[in-house]
Subunit: 358 residues, 2 copies
């Protein structure tokens, strides 16, 4: 295939995507709608964005930017349905605190206040609830946030799965203007550490793979890491925490949102051996496997060295790496230069090979 043919293919693809108005084709909800990938995006666009549309929602960032009475705030929420509830490195409690802390942090905010909503299943051991709540307490302390209000509901046995936790959070902006639409050609793409630890940990904890491993979830609050990066680098354009759908999903969101291409060097992506091995057995690219304490940062290319140094100076970013760059063409696509010297398109996650990962 010549370059021209390939370009034409890409252009055709983009044009088809543009003509496609978001519509949920399925009559019923499937696990794929919760994957964070393609089906989730379609559901969100066709159902939620379409109904709730307003200028604060439309950027579809991890947190909404609000101006109230002179204060510049960020506001976000996440529900957590991870299974199992307890796993190496954490449990649903610290995951729920860190998840919302991280959504606020990567929006350029200092996380301040959290809510905690619990949906408990009848019969759930109070002792397990106490452990989860203790982890939330510790995670809130570590992230320097306060849980200021909450709610508790109970559903009958068989209508839940132990406990689901929702956290919402408010932060105060420390850097405005961050976001997908600020990403531009010439930006460098960095990750703050090895990817996929959380997702693989959950799969192993479910016993779905017969592997012994010491791997632990990377769940952690990234507010300090982010604050250090922002303090050192004026040219940070966007940050995301790579949860459901993994790094690949974020790169696709940025490519589509900023109408740029993102070109990733597979060899540069830090992946632990255990994660690579487990991913191979699962038949999934580590780029799609969730992290819960890793950020992806898009930074002015001229400041990449400072950015990498800033990330590496923080314990959570010790293994940070530059994994790619942003270019003009082809807009909307993520291209991977593979370890074998080829190039392939990295699309959004299709299906949900790893349900209930967070």
């Amino acid at each position: 295939m010549t370059t021209t043919e390939r370009e034409q293919q890409v252009l055709d693809r983009i044009e088809r995507a543009r003509r496609r108005r978001a519509k949920v084709r399925e009559e019923r909800i499937t696990l794929s709608h919760g994957s964070g990938g393609k089906a989730t995006h379609t559901l969100i666009e066709a159902v939620f964005l379409d109904a709730f549309r307003n200028p604060l929602l439309e950027p579809m960032e991890d947190a909404a930017a609000l101006a109230i009475g002179g204060a510049q705030l960020a506001f976000t929420t996440d529900s957590f349905v991870v299974s199992p509830l307890f796993f190496p490195g954490g449990n649903i409690g610290d995951l729920a605190v860190n998840g919302t802390v991280n959504d606020l942090a990567v929006s350029g905010s200092r996380p301040l206040y959290l809510t905690a909503g619990f949906i408990l299943e009848e019969g759930f051991p109070v002792e397990d609830l106490l452990k989860i709540v203790d982890s939330m307490k510790a995670a809130a302390l570590a992230a320097d946030v306060q849980i200021v209000t909450g709610d508790t509901k109970v559903v009958q046995r068989g209508k839940g799965d132990g406990v689901y936790v929702n956290t919402a959070g408010i932060g105060v902006s420390i850097r405005s203007g961050l976001g997908v639409t600020s990403v531009r050609p010439g930006d460098a793409v960095l990750v703050s550490g090895p990817i996929g630890d959380h997702g693989v940990t959950i799969m192993l904890a479910r016993g779905e793979l017969d592997i012994d491993s010491d791997i632990e979830s990377d769940t952690a609050p990234v507010h300090g890491l982010v604050a250090g990066l922002l303090a050192a680098v004026p040219g940070v354009h966007a940050m995301r925490d790579a949860t459901r759908g993994g790094v690949a999903t974020i790169l696709n969101e940025v490519a589509a949102g900023a109408q740029v291409s993102v070109i990733v060097d597979e060899n540069a992506v830090p992946v632990r051996d255990e994660v690579r091995g487990a991913s191979e057995l699962l038949g999934i690219d580590p780029l799609y496997v969730a992290c819960e304490g890793r950020i992806v940062a898009f930074v002015d290319g001229t400041q990449v060295d400072t950015a990498l140094a800033a990330l590496r100076s923080h314990p959570l970013g010790a293994e940070a790496a530059v994994i790619g760059r942003v270019a003009d063409d082809p807009p909307g696509l993520v291209l991977l230069n593979t370890a074998f010297g080829g190039t392939r398109i990295v699309d959004m996650l299709v299906g949900d090979p790893l349900p209930r990962i967070c």
Copy 2:
């Protein structure tokens, strides 16, 4: 029994309650922990408050009062697990929006921004989700709030019940100093309309009673009603929306929190005939049955006429009534002067005769 004997009984009871440190005695979660009544309070105090304790959480009001960058904000959350999802007068969607709007409103705030978190069960009809989301859109419009961020998770069939919705909300304070601890002897107690409509509607919608009735849920946003009351009456001391656990639970929270007694005149409490009849069949006092669009207001006794007029001037308050007064003694108790001329203690709800009401 002489007055002295009765007083001594009451004092003994209070002393016993004071000695009781909150502790969850059950090893496993029961539906009662979700009732909004006594078991819910114990769970919250023993588990959540004990772990998360901070000055913003401790007032245990419907919303936390936050000061951020010169802005005085209210922050709240609620998860909704109502069954059935659709019922006369509403569905889980408008219930979720109104519930959070109302928590903000009764805290003395103007509701501004909401989050929406969905936990969907695999197999849930997309058409039903669209209906729910449409109701949320309409409710947000009616309450003049914007849904600015959200989250969607999917759980396997049998791990949920169609859909659970969490909403969190931010409001901006329009009246500070409201709250349980501002209630004082001499205050009048008002309700904004007939109580128990929502709870009875849900029970009938479940087909648990063989009754034909036109009764509908009272789910509605009370922000306008509250704003009118606040504008007319400087002496509003506290407001609550009477949801799970009903009016009786709120009165108990206030009596305990302000260490006052609340004396209610049973004849003065507005209750529709259908609600009274259904409650009798269920063996439950309407005072414990949930409303979703009614407020209870504690107002300086000298301003009771203005307050009643202000409530009645709003469509949602047309049937408002003064139902009682606040006194010094016996502190911490709610006393009901019954329709038959007796007096009895109205305790918090014990057990959960109406699970998953919201």
